[in-house]
Symmetry: C2
Subunit: 478 residues, 2 copies
Amino acid sequence: MQAPIVPTPAYIPYSDVLSLIRDILSTSITDHDSPVHKQVVRVRGWIRSVRAQQQVHFIALNDGSCFENLQLVLSHENNNASIDFLALKTGVAIEVEGKLHKSPGAKQHIELHVQVIHYLSPHDSEYPLQKKRHSFEMTRMIPHLRVRTNTFATITRIRSALYRSLNHYLHSQGYHWINVPAITTNDCEGAGDLFSVGFDINSSKRHFFGKPAYLSVSGQLNAESYACGMSRVYSFAPIFRADNSNTRKHLSEFWMLEPEGAWLSYHDCISLAENLIKYAVSTLLEHNHTDLELFDTYVHKGIIAELGYFVQTPFKRMEYTEVLKMLKGNENNKNKTHTMPPLEWGMDLATEHEKALMTHTNNVPVAIMNYPKEIKPFYMYHNDDERTVRGIDIIFPRVGELVGGSEREYRLKELRMALTEKKLREEELSWYVDLRRYGTVPHSGFGLGFERLIQFVTGMANIRDCIAFPRAPQEALC
Amino acid sequence: MQAPIVPTPAYIPYSDVLSLIRDILSTSITDHDSPVHKQVVRVRGWIRSVRAQQQVHFIALNDGSCFENLQLVLSHENNNASIDFLALKTGVAIEVEGKLHKSPGAKQHIELHVQVIHYLSPHDSEYPLQKKRHSFEMTRMIPHLRVRTNTFATITRIRSALYRSLNHYLHSQGYHWINVPAITTNDCEGAGDLFSVGFDINSSKRHFFGKPAYLSVSGQLNAESYACGMSRVYSFAPIFRADNSNTRKHLSEFWMLEPEGAWLSYHDCISLAENLIKYAVSTLLEHNHTDLELFDTYVHKGIIAELGYFVQTPFKRMEYTEVLKMLKGNENNKNKTHTMPPLEWGMDLATEHEKALMTHTNNVPVAIMNYPKEIKPFYMYHNDDERTVRGIDIIFPRVGELVGGSEREYRLKELRMALTEKKLREEELSWYVDLRRYGTVPHSGFGLGFERLIQFVTGMANIRDCIAFPRAPQEALC
């Protein structure tokens, strides 16, 4: 087994690492009357709200380190007369010094009695985020400020926590992180429309890279070449789609996790995806419970219970043909509640079909296997039936396809036939064909859309609210 | 303190996770004569070399999980006559089954006595990587296959190990991973030339994003907006430079780690960079020693000792003005060995100056602080002397500038003046100015070029050999 990460060594901490609110709130209180610590503490953050009473100001301070605010108590008597109490407003940044006390209030167990304000930045003009709930449409127009709201600070912590646990799980299973290029000269993966790069209309040297180049729609082909040497690899990087689609599930730029494993079958690939996602979700339930409560209360009631059920329930595996049969049966059912678009063998599932499938399985994710070869790209393993390939899509409740993958066509002859069938030129992909010419091995992999995973765990309706700076057609602020 | 990562839960492992060579080689041997394990093991990998004796074939098998090969012993008698011994060649993939024995050889302590070959992929044509050393120039032409050489498999493991420890350190210090957009509509950061995106010459709707868009040269401005709400954040993502420069230190696409911390001064920022890099290098020395030995033997003799010295020696901090004085002094020294380009106050250091600086400090990294404002971007904190800004570059031996950062100009009035001085329009950056209008706080951050760090720890001369698929002017294979 790989050695575990060594503990962080005790280098001299940089001078101004003061207390994070997260650390302060985890302080235990033993004595009800005396200050928790004899020495003074300094905290810094942004004011979430101010409540003024006759002799005292209560301030809820947040520094992003955790969901909870720290209550600051500014007694008018104890404080220097020079404090400008009118400047204490939502959004203002302050640095204060004082002692921690047990709080008599029900909302918090600890509070800071402020002695000195060391720093205060009054607003230059009216602050756009007041102490009230703002619509997601409104905060989407100010992506540089929305991280100061509870929802987006929490999304940010959840993104970071999932990033950490996904990476951790894959490392623990022997996967090496690799980088795949964002700029690619392959234009034939068929995963979506492409953005061109390096074509300068004002320059005589027209192609910066010597030939047409694009932003990558998937790192898979490159990851395959690394799996055929390192056995287990994954990339985690931004991916680009130039499709002109404006839906609540699509972005022009998003993060994709792409594991690729030599010697994995498509069934192993489903197991890897299942174990990986369940590990990430269970870690989140354990360490970010307070963060998830926000979504359970305001965004999607019952999501914590849903995620608990998700972690404990095995995914279903169904053949594409079987899924079709089931959906067709549903169609003839007089009690059907959905009106579904037509669906015949050889067609891809529409959103309504995915919803019906989730109703059928009582929201248990389904790995659909062995798709008609006509609706899948050239690189998937061709089954003996000559009709299907070993593609897999894993359908999740609410978000639809969260994972898409396949067992790859590792046989030289069959790959060449597939290229011909899809009218692709082997010369353009000769390097990829090389992987089948030399030391070829069975291998599989998948792509997991990171922002859709954020949607799944938070219940957020629009994927634009699951990424810091969303990019979509006609939309790129900041 | 943040809770530590929970151990990976024991989900049912997917069916075909067989033994990695890394795990097999860490098996301890207690009995010299009997097999180490009674049960058979299966291993899979690619043949690195074959040595045939009269009654036995010795195969060095590698699966990428570690530097070392596993020795396979194929006795001609014990094996099925149907084995095609001629097909056993460098680069061929095989899956074998057998028992582990203590090896009588000096080179390895354990070997696998093969009973069955389950899978073997003979080459379709002549394998380009034979058992000999290939030039880096040659392997650069086959980036899809070079990971099957010792050097690039080792680079890949080192990249993954550094990715892991850099992430780990920042998490342990309360930094949240954030994503910054690769596609940006800011074109004024001045960090380099830009690639245009979303401008379709064939389409009537000329700007996909509704306005000119580019590939990002730095995530800093976006990261700043998140630091002003989350306190401590970092991004780790690909970054793009369209400069037409072909040097051994530049790429058109590379990975950059960008921490940004609220309330950090530029001195804190240097400490963060120093502690972070030292943690990563010391972790590497501890866990990837065998990998580093390859570079110590074949690429840069003495690099392990150099890295050990690096970890133990505090960085130097020098004012820009002080550095200049020192270099000018050197210039007048009759014993000077370098011929240096001219250097006057207000000029940037050239590579030759950086080398002279490293000679002066005996290869201890130097953080150069407080640069003339004319040679630095608009966003750096302006010192009272009205001539300098709080920019920092950290110069490393061999690779030059590994880290570039600054304390940011957080004061509204001074930022506006800087925009005017640099002839930038405030309207274009109004969102960035907003960060100074509402709840502004002192903050600092830096960018660390990941591939230059790989150069630093491996001693590799060309940065193209420190990334899987290098992109440079007129260069984008696979």
